[in-house]
């Protein structure tokens, strides 16, 4: 108890005298602010990309692909697709038909607005039933494509990010003009998705197999029964994943790269800022040698001095952490970037701010260790005798 009271009294003394040592405090503040700001902004790329990658996902939807494939190289024959539609657990639409959609994916090129950078993105041929399967999809402009016609509908992020998706715009794909007839939003999806009628698209590309079959289940709980029935069927060579798992899997590698970059840069900057904090705290301790010696002489324990200095160091790093997170949010939240041809908005979340603050507290603690020990070891007699 006595120890804590001593430490508290010392801490008050330390913080009270800070104004006289403003330069050192500001050095710590700026070092921590820069580090946390950079770390949080870079991690925000990962969360932004993730939010976008799973933004369209429904929990009651599952994706069927050929076994061992990862999406684009999957091929599901018409016979197999028909078998899937008869499996148990699939929800029915208002007209009694099973909610099963067939997708064929081709890749087309687009050009970003502004600099005209070329980006490849998927054109998804899908069944018209998709509007019933995804009620969160609604048209902000125009209408749905009509089966059999060379028509495209684009999600609004496409219209914002790329050229050539205005209503009525024509895009040449496979020597045929396709007309953009609608713009839509889908939940909180930020991804550019372009849809066309799957049969028309497959005819244009001379294909006869789908890439994947998407099924809407009666409830998320029906997934296991559906999977068991699919795997037990000897007529098909298919696998099924929850839509969320499929999206997460595709995204895993990309997120690992982004997070590695963020933590790599964040760690190097943290080392630099911690060194700066050590230096600043050393000079604070040095400037107070006589004061500390006096305190020791009148009976303050060295343990209390260590604790008080450490707490001071941690407290000094806190405002920098908050400021850094705030700067990241103010300047970078919602900023659109498109590394590696992906395009997404940075997303600064409270969770990232917490990581930044935790990072700063560790920096403060490590930075305070050595100076705290020096403060506790100030030799009373020489320090008091020195001028």
């Amino acid at each position: 108890m006595n120890f804590l009271r001593q430490a508290a009294a010392l801490l008050r003394l330390n913080l009270g005298g800070l104004s006289a040592r403003g330069g050192s405090a500001v050095t710590i503040l700026i070092g921590v602010t820069c580090t946390v700001g950079v770390l949080v902004s870079m991690l925000a790329m990962g969360t932004g990309a993730h939010r976008q990658a799973v933004g369209y996902v429904r929990d009651d939807t599952a994706v069927v692909t050929s076994r061992g494939s990862n999406g684009l190289d999957s091929s599901v024959s018409r016979d197999e697709a028909a078998t899937v539609a008869d499996l148990p657990g699939i929800a029915s639409g208002s007209d009694g038909k099973p909610l099963v959609g067939h997708d064929a994916i081709v890749v087309i090129e687009g050009h970003r607005r502004g600099r005209g950078v070329r980006v490849f993105f998927p054109l998804i041929g899908t069944s018209p039933i998709v509007t019933a399967m995804r009620p969160e999809m609604h048209f902000t402009d125009g209408r749905m494509f009509q089966p059999g016609l060379h028509e495209l509908v684009a999600s609004n992020p496409c219209v914002r990010t790329f050229t050539g998706f205005e209503l009525g715009a024509r895009r040449a794909v496979r020597g045929i003009d396709w007309t953009v007839v609608g713009h839509y939003d889908q939940g909180n999806n930020m991804q550019c998705l372009v849809l066309a009628d799957v049969e028309t698209l497959m005819t244009a590309f001379g294909r006869n197999t789908f890439n994947e079959v998407v099924v809407r289940l009666k409830s998320p709980g029906d997934f296991d029964a559906f999977r068991a029935a699919l795997e037990a069927n000897p007529a098909v060579h298919l696998q099924v994943k929850r839509e969320r798992d499929a999206a997460e899997e595709r995204f895993k590698g990309f997120r690992a790269i982004l997070n590695f970059a963020a933590y790599f840069v964040g760690a190097i900057m943290a080392v630099g800022a911690t060194l700066g904090a050590v230096n600043s705290l050393y000079s604070i301790v040095d400037a107070r040698r006589r004061e500390l010696a006096t305190l020791r002489a009148i009976g303050f324990g060295s343990g209390a001095i260590v604790v008080a200095t450490l707490v001071e160091s941690v407290l000094l790093s806190l405002p920098g952490a908050l400021l850094g997170a705030a700067v990241a949010w103010l300047f970078f939240h919602g900023m659109a970037v498109s590394p590696f041809g992906f395009s997404f908005a940075l997303d600064v979340t409270p969770g990232l701010a917490e990581i930044g603050i935790a990072w700063a507290l560790v920096m403060g603690f490590l930075g305070g260790l050595l100076p705290a020990l020096r403060a506790a070891r100030v030799p009373v007699t020489t320090a008091l005798r020195a001028t």
């Binding site: 050192s24 950078v117 700066g276």
Partner: protein, 381 residues
Amino acid sequence: MKYLPLIWSGIWRKPGRTILIFLQVAVAFVLFGVLQGLKTGVEHAVDAARADLLIVHSRLSLIMEGLPVSFLDPIRSVAGVRVAIPVELFLCYYQKPEQGVLSVAVAPDKDWTTAFTFAIRPQDLPAFARSRTAALVLETTAKKFGWKTGDRIPLICRTAQKTGSPNWTFEMAGTFTDSDFGGSGDKILMNFAYYDEARATGRGTVNHFNVSVTDPSVAVPVADAIDRLSANSSHETKTESIRELAQQQVQQIGDFDFLIRAVVSAVLAALLFAIATMMVQSVRERTSELAVLKTIGFTDRTVFLLILGEALAVCILAAASGLGLATAVLPIAARFVTGLSMPRITLVIGLGISVLVALISAAVPALLAARLRVATALAER
């Protein structure tokens, strides 16, 4: 020069502080070196990519959509085309799916190597062209899997053979290296004729054609002429040099430019403050010493330069060691992007920035030292 010992002793007046500042500056320049090195290294690699090697691919996509192999003869008849080689890419793996190997099927016609970025030993070429099942293996791939020339290599591929089997076996005829930008990853070269004949699906189509031109200056008109051949057909082509392709790859990661600049500025801002406060602190502690120097005849200007010299020495030495470390670390990053290296210009810019940082951050403390009044300074004692 005669002031060097004085600067040196000033630097080591408080060794702990100097070492910490030194480390802080060094760490900052490691980061600067790695980030800036990545950026300029990539730019250099793009400039080094060949502009006279054209890739003819479907307008729809780089590799996803095929082209009919019948395009070969019209392309070969375009004036300025030296060699045109059909290329098909397909994915395989060795033993387990994690060990992916890209199979590049090429037609080893006359002078075919001029249309690729591969370096192949001349003595391996005839063996590769002669045997239908011969394969050349990327040097790093051969090393990774322990394959030797003459070995039979069993691969499991996404494209099945006519028999329905996904197993393909090749005889290793030699190794090659690839200087293409971003040309990392395991791969082998195989004979297109054998592949086209043996595959179950997609016969008669290729991913793209590689074209080399007779003279680099005609690359652009040749590309346009090739694209005109298929204009308005159902298989429109797009012909680009591998330098253009590399440029596009770089543009796609372009937003990292902004990030690199933001990170580097944040690091430098923090550094400026740290050095400035430390130097001010140091000058304050040395008030009486500086006053003594002035008493024995040092001018204000000399004292100003002394303090500046201290900051310069520490910053330049620390920056040099930081940049040195970054140069040593960068080859690790170069494993992911072939052709990456630390260009000398980055080192020069880094040292220049370290001088600027030293001058700016030491300006205020040096001014304080120069303005010191001897009488008041000594009276404080």
